[in-house]
Assembly symmetry: C2
Homo-oligomer: 161 residues x 2
DNA sequence: TCTTAATCGGATACCTTGTGTCCGATATAA
DNA sequence: TTATATCGGACACAAGGTATCCGATTAAGA
């Protein structure tokens, strides 16, 4: 079971956007360049985030992507869901209702195996919902260094004009 | 992010094996037939379970697959891991170390985004490890009906000779 | 106002991974 | 010893993720 690497890409991109002043954004090209990623593919992923309402897109020169909400209101779950979609990883196809021993066909009680996987995914989702972009930005900043901070300021001033 | 349906197939197959007397097994054909699944594909998945040590295989006439441990000692996580492998769904490729703002190259502190996804997967895994086959069998039996139980007995006596 | 350049958005090709099947290897039972 | 049942891995096929390009749209500047 592999998660799309688009989740990693966009999570880092959103962390960068969350570090900018409110309302300020960056074009997809810059977001890709910041982590040395394929620009066209990053652009595709940012589209998905825009469709999901995590970011807003601004077309034309000087445009780009900016967060659609406050950093504190965007969780890693929002980003995951934007890229991977709403369907759960485990899909119960009710195979218990197939085969020679299905009896009278009364299957109103939920499938136990599906129930367990459902609880597991709920726990997973809860963990992702518990962390928002503001917290991530704060944590990343805490781990940073003066040199890196200076490089970021320099790079941003170049990109934002 | 989609989980292989082999997880669902083998989870149900193991639940069936867990309901049999200790040491007794069934061939892959029978396990597939019980839920009306593709026999060849079910056989392939059972191979993976055997490699992982969840079940034991017995070749030749009268052979098949049987649980390698007591039902209470096999969790849904064991089955998941046998089919999907050990790698986590989220793979951090350390893109934070790429790009124009990587500074001095000091990245001893873990990547925050990776850390959150790691916690989420740990919670997910813990939930799957908390349920074993004995509990599933008991729960399924509780939800069953006299008609189904009779059909199962009939079917098993035919398969086990 | 018009032109130019920048940027997003969807359509398109490619490649990896999961899905599914078949046949040979092996061991049991007769 | 033979025939049969069963596993195990090698082999095709399909789907979804990866990656790119080009047209549509909009802002900035002349």
């Amino acid at each position: 079971m592999k998660m799309s690497e688009g989740v990693e890409w966009t999570a880092h991109a959103c962390a960068l956007l969350a570090a900018l002043p409110p309302g300020v954004g960056l074009p997809a090209n810059a977001l890709a360049e910041f982590h040395a990623l394929a620009p066209a593919y990053m652009a595709k992923h940012m589209q998905a985030l825009a469709r999901a309402g995590v970011v807003e897109s601004v077309r034309g020169a000087g445009g780009g992507y900016r967060l659609a909400k406050k950093p504190a209101d965007v969780t890693l779950w929002d980003i995951y869901e934007a890229i991977e979609g709403e369907e759960p990883a485990f899909r119960c196809s009710e195979i218990r209702q197939q085969g020679p021993c299905t009896g009278t066909g009364d299957f109103r009680r939920p499938c136990e195996i599906n129930a367990v996987f459902g609880r597991a995914e709920a726990a997973w989702k809860a963990e992702l919902r518990s962390v928002n972009l503001a917290e991530i930005v704060a944590e990343v900043a805490r781990k940073s260094t003066p040199v890196k901070r200076a490089q970021l300021t320099e790079w941003l001033s170049e990109k934002l004009g």
